[in-house]
Structure formats: C-alpha cells, structure tokens
C-alpha cells in the first residue's frame, strides 16, 4: 500500500462524523463499519440506500447525517446513484453548480441487496463505469426482517428460514470475485474490528474513481446470537481464523492486507455464535466442522501458493 495517513490506531479520526441516536441494535457491526467509513470519507457525500437494517438510520425528523442521504428501494440503489452522479456532473458541466458543491456518491446496502436483488443494478452500474463507492454491510442474512437466509449466508449457519439441524445448506456467494470479474476500479474486504485496515482501504478507494466496492463483514448480535459486547472480538476472530480474508483487488491483482499466521481454528470463531451452536451441542458435528475448516484451509493454501 502506498503512503497512508493511517498507520496506527491513534491515526484514526478522533471526531466521529456520523451522529449517534440511531435505532440500530446495540453492538451493530454494520453501523460500526459504516461509521468508520464515514469518519474517513467525510460529509461531502450523498449516501444512496437500499432497504435493509440501515434504512431506519434516517427516520423523520431524525437524521444522523452531516452529509446527504437518499433512500431508494431494495433493488435499485446503484441506479439511484447513477442518477445522482449524472445529475451532479451535468450541473457542474453546465455551470449551474459550483465545483465545490460536488458530492461523493456512496451506495450503502446490506448483503440482501448486494448479493441478491440488487445484483442486476450493481452489475449494470459497473458496466457503465459509474463513479461511485459501494459499501456493503454483510450480516450474512436478511437482517432487518429477522435474519432469513440470503446468498451471503455461510454454510451450516442457522437462520430464520433454515432452523433445522443442518442450518443453511448453501455456501456463501463470493461477491468479491463477482465484482472483480467486472474489472471495476477497486474491490476490498474490510471489517470494523480492524479499523486501521478499514481506514486505509477507504482512503485508497477515495483516491480512485469509478466503481469501487468495500465489503464489510458485519457481526450481528441478534442475528448471529451473541452478546453485543462480543461484537469486536467476533470480528477479530473472523479475521484470525481466516474465515474473513482482508484483501484488495486492483487491476487484476489480489493483495491480502492481513495474513493470519498461525490461523486460529475456525471453531474458535464458530462456537461464539448461537447460529452455529448446533455444530457443538448436543454433539459435535465433526463432519461439518471439518468441512468448514477444510474450505478455509484450501483458500489460504491457494493464497500462499
């Protein structure tokens, strides 16, 4: 990574720009990531939102934003971003808006929109080379409606629609790879529990133009089943166990910004969450635990090859 203002935690912004008083759950990993991003990116932004947990951030007459916000619909936030970006460009081009009134366009959605319903609009926005930054807070399910399985749900996790003994039968979609296949400007995974890594990536993304994704794993106390105070610890375990690789894609190259060595066993991460409790009680599901570990190992073996 090139020169950065963020080397250590003490370099992080000491002023928090996003207002408190929002109705997200205590310990929300999604809000945490967004707040950290907002601190770095600043308030000369317009955040375009799709339906999800963050939609209620701005509920009349209360808004936590110093900058701007537009709620669209679940499927069309990237299209909303297209309209805002094009209009700002037109206004500036035609001299109807001074350049200093320009805003950075940021799309904010959960995994429900990013991995599913919003994928068509996202893909097309990247096709058009839209200059926008997309922050996806990934709590691995449809969080706002009660944690039903989404395409982002990891294998074997229990959700409201997969409450049986095996949990979710599918496997987490690789949104990072899908974005990368579009050859955008920048793709990165982040997590609020690693704020310096996140700040650097926001800084890096902010220096670029074009379509850029920041994909944040968002530990979710009610959805994943843990006490809010463990939110950061669980985020750290996601990274330490290798379940959530911290990486960037640029110009066809993937760089890992953190390589956990040694990797903590995935069990350490899984056993802290009620959604995986069935893998440990009443008896250990060795087969599934081994499979999850194997997949994580295989990923890192390839990385290190």
């Amino acid at each position: 990574m090139s020169d950065t203002a963020y080397r250590r935690m003490q370099d992080l912004p000491s002023t928090h720009l996003l207002g408190t008083g929002t109705s997200t759950c205590a310990g929300c990993g999604g809000l945490h990531a967004f707040r950290e991003l907002y601190d770095v990116l600043g308030d000369k932004t317009v955040v375009v939102n799709a339906a999800g947990c963050m939609t209620l951030l701005a509920t009349y007459p209360f808004t936590p934003f110093r900058g701007s916000w537009l709620y669209t619909s679940m499927a069309s936030a990237p299209a909303g971003a297209q309209g805002v970006r094009d209009a700002l460009d037109l206004l500036i081009e035609k001299g109807r808006l001074p350049r200093e009134e320009d805003l950075r366009v940021v799309v904010l959605t959960g995994d429900g929109a990013a991995y599913g319903m919003g994928l068509a609009a996202t893909s097309a926005a990247i096709d058009r080379g839209l200059d926008f930054l997309y922050l996806c807070y990934d709590n691995e399910g449809y969080g706002n409606t009660g944690q039903q399985s989404s395409a982002a749900t990891p294998h074997a996790a229990r959700t409201a629609t997969n409450g049986g003994p095996r949990g979710y039968p599918g496997y987490k979609k690789d949104l990072f790879a899908i974005w990368a296949a579009h050859r955008p400007s920048y793709v990165a995974t982040v997590i609020a529990a690693e704020p310096v890594d996140l700040a650097r990536k926001v800084e890096q993304a902010a220096r670029l133009t074009g379509p850029r994704l920041l994909l944040a794993l968002a530990p979710c106390p009610p959805g994943w089943g843990f006490d809010p105070q463990d939110a950061v610890e669980i985020g750290r375990l996601a990274v330490k166990s290798g379940v959530w690789p911290l990486k960037e894609w640029r110009d066809g190259r993937v760089v890992h910004t953190k390589t956990p060595r040694p990797r903590a066993p995935v069990e350490e991460y899984l056993r802290r969450q009620q959604r995986f409790a069935h893998l440990f009680e009443p008896a250990r599901d060795e087969a599934t635990l081994a499979e999850i570990q194997r997949r994580v190992d295989a990923y890192w073996e390839e990385v290190e090859a």
Binding site: L18, T20, Q229
Partner: protein, 304 residues
C-alpha cells in the same frame, strides 16, 4: 372486557408474556385478542404488548384505550415518552411496576393515590430479564383473578415450549413467584366498562397545502438524530476508571460501534445520552479500565 398492557424492552419476552396471558384467558373460555406493538424492534428498545379478553366477541381494533391494568416490567421506561406507559390511562387503570421501590413511592411519583402496585425484582436481576414477560403474565393473571394457576401454567408451557426445557423451567418458577407475590391483591383488577365509541367531535381539520419544500419527507438539518436519546435503551452503562485509563482513547473511541466515545484532552468521554450500553468498550480496553454498572444505580448516583 379486560384490557391489559405490558411494557418492557426488546429481549424481555414481553411479546411472549402477552401470549401467555392471552392463552391463559382463552383456556378459561374468554375470547381473546393479543398483539405486540413494535417500536424500533431492537434489543433494548421499548416495546409493549396488549391483551383484550372478553366473554363476548371482541370488536375493538388497534391500540388499547383505557387499560384496566398496565404492567411495567422495566421501570426505566417510565420517563421514556415514546414507550407510552401512560397512554390511554383512565381513572380505573391499575399499575403494576417491577421495582425495588415500594408501591407507596410510586403512588407519589405518579400522583396516583391508589391502584399502584410494585413487584420486587429478583436478586439475580439480570438473569431475570428474559423472563419478564412470563412474570408479567403471571402477575396479571393473579390480579385479574379470573385465571386459575393450572390455566396459566398450561399457557406458559405452550408459549415457552419453543425456547427449550431450561427456559421453560425457569419461566415457570419465576412466574410462580410473581403469582404468589400478588396473592394479597388477587382479583383486584376488574373488567373495564364498555367503551363509548360514538359521539364527540373528532376534531377534523382540512389539511392545508404546504409547498413541497416543506411537505417532502426530507430532513434539512444535519444531525437531528442527536435528539434521540438512545441512552434510554441501556440497562447497564460503561464507566471509565480514570486511574486505570492509560489515555490511549483511540481504542475505545474507534471501536465503539455508535461513535459514542469522544476524545477530549486526550481522554475518552462517553456520551451517556446516546451510549446503548453494548459493552464493546468494556471488552476491548486493553487495560480493563472500563467496568459495567447497573443503569438505574448509575443514574441514581448521578443525581444531585
């Protein structure tokens, strides 16, 4: 008709409590309507649930008016306006508040000379929180008098079945304790009068045209969310011990999900108006300089 409302926070089992009471009434041959009312639907956020019970068909819809009994399972909700503890209050409404303070204190605080009761919280208060709904249901059933213990017990077993054997036993034990504690007032709460739904001027106006600049659903002022005191969700608060704090500040401040820890003069300052009490700062401080205090004690201590 009995009209009963429970108040608590997300995570207290209030919705289940209303269902327990509703099921118990139903088992005793009443017609029943029970429903939760969601606010922000977040853990810690205020919510209430209601039960209507009548020997005849129930035709009322919507929010309860003139409840016969209001059970406040979490006394910290009383000053929270949006919790609506006093909504639809009538002269005949009974209040039951779960609180260490005795009923006499609450009668004075609420300026209600009668029909106020207090139910003491258990010694293991935090462990009791998920069962407040069961406690409220048992208390209400005893106060109403028209529900037998077997009916309540059966309703409890049915409604809590999905939570596992441990939770069932726990619920039953705590419900029984509340049932017994309210024996002196058994049957005190009677059925409310038929509500007059007709007559009176509804106070209709002709809504004037407001120009779109005012009438679009927009907020033109930044940071109005600061007016929402999410600190009222807390049941416990983090407290920084200045002697143990190394003044690194950026750790707790950066890792607070809500950004409720500011840095002033190199020292962290918690914004108690907005801190939701998640406890992340307590968990991440490398010097263990932040500990947890029960919110009502902390608030009491903070008063001059």
């Amino acid at each position: 008709m009995y009209r009963i409302r429970f108040h608590g926070r997300g995570g207290h089992g209030i919705k289940t409590g209303a269902r327990i009471l509703g099921s118990a009434f139903f088992a005793e041959g009443f017609e029943v309507q029970d429903a939760p009312r969601y606010g922000a639907e977040r853990r810690g956020a205020p919510l209430d649930a209601s039960v209507r019970a009548s020997r005849g068909p129930i035709r009322e819809r919507g929010a309860l008016r003139a409840p016969d009994l209001v059970v406040v399972a979490d006394e910290t909700l009383i000053p929270v306006r949006s919790a609506g503890v006093a909504a639809g209050l009538a002269a005949h409404t009974w209040f039951l508040i779960r609180s260490a303070a005795p009923a006499a204190v609450w009668r004075e605080r609420m300026a209600r000379p009668e029909r106020v009761l207090a139910l003491a919280a258990a010694a293991d208060e935090r462990a009791e929180l998920p069962f407040l709904g069961s406690i409220a249901a048992a208390a209400a059933a005893r106060l109403v008098g028209a529900i037998s213990w077997p009916a309540l017990e059966g309703a409890l077993a049915r409604e809590v079945a999905g939570f596992g054997a441990g939770a069932q036993a726990e619920s039953r034990a705590r419900a029984r304790a509340a049932w017994d504690a309210l024996a002196p007032h058994a049957g005190a709460v009677g059925e409310g009068p038929e509500l007059l739904t007709a007559g009176g001027d509804p106070g209709w106006i002709d809504l004037p045209l407001d120009l779109a600049e005012r009438a679009a659903p927009d907020v033109r002022v930044p940071l109005t969310s600061l007016e929402v005191k999410t600190g009222l969700w807390r049941t416990q608060r983090p407290v920084i011990e200045p002697d143990r704090c190394h003044g690194c500040a950026w750790i707790c401040s950066s890792l607070c999900p809500d950004g409720a820890i500011a840095i002033a003069g190199g020292r962290p300052v918690i914004d108690y108006d907005h801190c939701k009490g998640c406890g992340v700062c307590v968990a991440v401080c490398p010097h263990h300089a932040i500990h947890v205090e029960r919110e009502e004690l902390a608030r009491a201590g903070a008063q001059p």
